[in-house]
Symmetry: D2
Subunit: 137 residues, 4 copies
């Protein structure tokens, strides 16, 4: 499985007056997770856009388990879901110190658009790139 972990810290601007991280920010953190997975694999998302493709989110889901608070250092583990053939799907796990102390988990699904905004099949270079990376494991 293609998987990567990255860390970040909750800032004041991420929290709300309940004293915890505001729920919409988890989707920002999902973005950080998948961006860093792409970069780690050797295909930064900026390269995908340079080739004329966009990868907007078509669906997202998130379960919130434990509250994250100001200044918490979080790990986001992003993994590529190989079972999905149409577009891409990423699964996310956000935790504090270890996987037993989970803040949230969720997923995003993505469709490919070409530069005119038209929905297209997953581009060949992406399918080949993923197949190659999975083969390397």
């Amino acid at each position: 499985m293609l998987k990567h972990r990255t860390k970040f810290r909750v800032i004041y601007g991420d929290t709300d007056s309940m004293g915890v991280a505001y729920y919409a920010n988890y989707l920002r953190w999902f973005e950080i997770g998948r961006t860093e997975l792409f970069r780690f694999l050797g295909l930064p998302y900026t390269e995908i856009e340079k080739k004329g493709y966009f990868l907007p989110v078509s669906e997202t889901h998130c379960k919130f388990k434990t509250f994250a608070r100001y200044d918490d250092v979080m790990t986001i583990e992003t993994s590529h879901d190989e079972t999905i053939k149409a577009g891409l799907k990423f699964n996310y796990l956000i935790f504090k110190d270890d996987e037993n102390d989970i803040f949230a988990n969720g997923y995003t699904r993505h469709a490919f658009l070409d530069s005119t905004g038209k929905l297209v099949r997953t581009p060949k270079f992406i399918r080949e790139f993923i197949a190659e990376k999975i083969g390397e494991r």
Copy 2:
């Protein structure tokens, strides 16, 4: 069904460099939707907190259908899901001019916490309030 519609406008700060509304902002708009539903029904969320309860989001889901763009006026229709007994669930539909032109739909689920942060059953005054409001329809 307890249901309410409210409108808002997409600002520059809501968009991203793909030229469309950034996906995390839909969760902010879901918040606006459920807040205004509570207020419309006669129980502002601030009243719930004054009684010593918090209603954090335990789960959210959103499907993105059409891109929203800068300065679009959107309607969010929030409805209370009566089939859920543990906590609360709200369903959302975000559309532009009519329900045939849908930007997104989704839901949030909420658990009740007391003032010490402990998970509690849906408070009696909430259950009675909802039963009464549903009875009025």
Copy 3:
């Protein structure tokens, strides 16, 4: 003086764990203020972009007087600063119930860019539009 007032409500997502509105959000509200001033005057910002100009913020300043809290209804009064000839400047006053209860005041300065991103003088149609609107007062 070209001036306009608009209202908005502080949501949970605008607050932070100090229990008050997070300071960066005031710049979002400044945006709402100047956008609605343009619209009120009859020249929506989208029209300016359609004519091939962009109006990014080159400078901003804000003083925070009183804390805004969740669910507060705020008024933002935006006024065009006629004394500035290079680009545009807007002054903002954000208050709760009347001008004696001020949350914040500040300003933004803006430069004009053409569609290639080059800095240009304030376009003639803008200068004429402002002169005409000021003349009407």
Copy 4:
């Protein structure tokens, strides 16, 4: 001068449909800068709150020089302004690769509040801490 540099990366959620980083986000980055300066000096902001003090922003100013774009890695250099005796002031410089390629500069001023929300003089432990740190240089 007490000074510290930290790096971060612009995400999609930070950009707007002009294709550049939205101006309000610079205030989030100022927060990151001063938080990491405090931590670097050995007094994390969480410690200040544990001692019963809050340090809200009373004023901010920012000049925007060059546009930051998606995936740019930015350095924020935060320095403590020793000339200010009432409260604290921090100066910020945000740049890409070197200080000749500046995105923005600005400052924030901060007042001290005690745990009841009352405005107080800069606490003795803060004044001593800063004097000691300046002396070490």
